[in-house]
């Protein structure tokens, strides 16, 4: 079970206070009406789902109710860093 540092509360909390919300950094197209079905489908459904480093959104649901980003290894479950919405990850997969 994860022990997660909330960047807003400034301390570690038990996983039971949080919910994972899927892949981070998925920008909603600025002009949806001019997206093709293909582009919209990619935005809606297609995911990296990496084995290894993963950037995902979490919400401190039973806490400050703020969303934030987390970089986590999906195999070892190590949390490499958490960072606020709008910020960039400093730990990224070598590709």
């Amino acid at each position: 079970m994860f022990y997660i540092y909330c960047p807003h509360c400034g301390e570690h909390r038990e996983e039971e206070e949080f919910h994972a919300k899927g892949q981070a950094h998925l920008a909603r197209p600025l002009d949806p009406d001019n997206c093709t079905d293909h582009e919209w489908g990619e935005y809606l459904y297609m995911r990296k789902n990496p084995r290894g480093l993963h950037h995902e959104i979490w919400i401190h649901a039973t806490g400050c109710r703020k969303f934030f980003n987390m970089t986590r290894d999906t195999v070892s479950y190590e949390i490499k860093e958490v960072y606020k919405i709008g910020e960039r990850p400093s730990v990224v997969a070598a590709s």
């Binding site: 807003h8 400034g10 038990e14 709008g86």
Partner: protein
């Protein structure tokens, strides 16, 4: 979702005109019966008939005024207005609280605080705050939707350890700290108000469940109800 960087906006300067929100004094005359969320449990009678000594004491601080205040810490007009009215700074340090007599303020989130004060003073405070604060702010009266429970006694901490995964040890949870966290299958804003005193702010519709839970979890220590 998006990684669009939040545009840095200069705090709006124009005063938030009161008309833009619907202010409402929600309190009825004192002749009208008001029922706190645990009214149905009739704690007064339980207190009279129940044990007078035990490891855990539970008291409901009912019918207080609860105001949620929202605003940005980048908004000077917001912080200044709050200071002017409250007489002290909003606790901007996460997980802290500030109080003055019967008025207390809890940090809930970077842009959210919970003020609790005597019920009859809530509307007046809301008005003064709205007058004093400028820019993008919100004040929401949630007095009817919450209640305050005080858990105290030598075994209060033991009951907390059954109820929340949060670390309630002295080293992590000193007097004065506030956390919103999991409580049984519900949640609570927990503030440590003394060596053996803990304040729980809970939601109305969960109150009966939490009342059952606390009785069950406290049974082995002996639960005293205080009216």
């Amino acid at each position: 979702m998006s990684d669009i960087i939040a545009p840095t906006k200069q705090a709006a300067v124009e005063a938030a005109s009161v008309e833009t929100v619907a202010l409402m004094d929600q309190l009825a005359g004192t002749d009208i019966r008001a029922e706190s969320p645990l009214y149905h449990a009739d704690l007064a009678t339980v207190a009279k008939q129940g044990p007078k000594a035990g490891g855990v004491t539970l008291q409901e601080h009912k019918l207080l005024g609860h105001l949620v205040i929202r605003g940005s810490q980048d908004n000077a007009g917001f912080l200044a207005g709050a200071r002017a009215v409250l007489g002290f700074d909003l606790p901007t340090q996460p997980l802290t609280a500030a109080e003055d007599g019967t008025l207390s303020v809890r940090w809930i989130a970077p842009d959210e605080w919970l003020v609790i004060l005597p019920g009859r003073e809530a509307f007046e405070l809301e008005n003064r705050l709205r007058e004093a604060m400028s820019g993008h702010v919100a004040i929401v009266n949630v007095s009817g939707g919450q209640t305050v429970l005080e858990l105290s006694g030598p075994n209060a901490r033991a009951v907390l350890k059954k109820s929340t995964p949060y670390d309630v040890h002295d080293r992590n949870f000193p007097v004065g700290k506030v956390v919103t966290t999991v409580f049984a299958k519900s949640q609570a804003v927990i503030r440590r108000t003394g060596e053996q005193n803990w304040e729980l702010v809970i939601r109305r519709s969960f109150a009966d469940y939490l009342w059952l839970w606390l009785q069950d979890a406290s049974a082995e220590f002996g639960l005293v109800i205080k009216d």
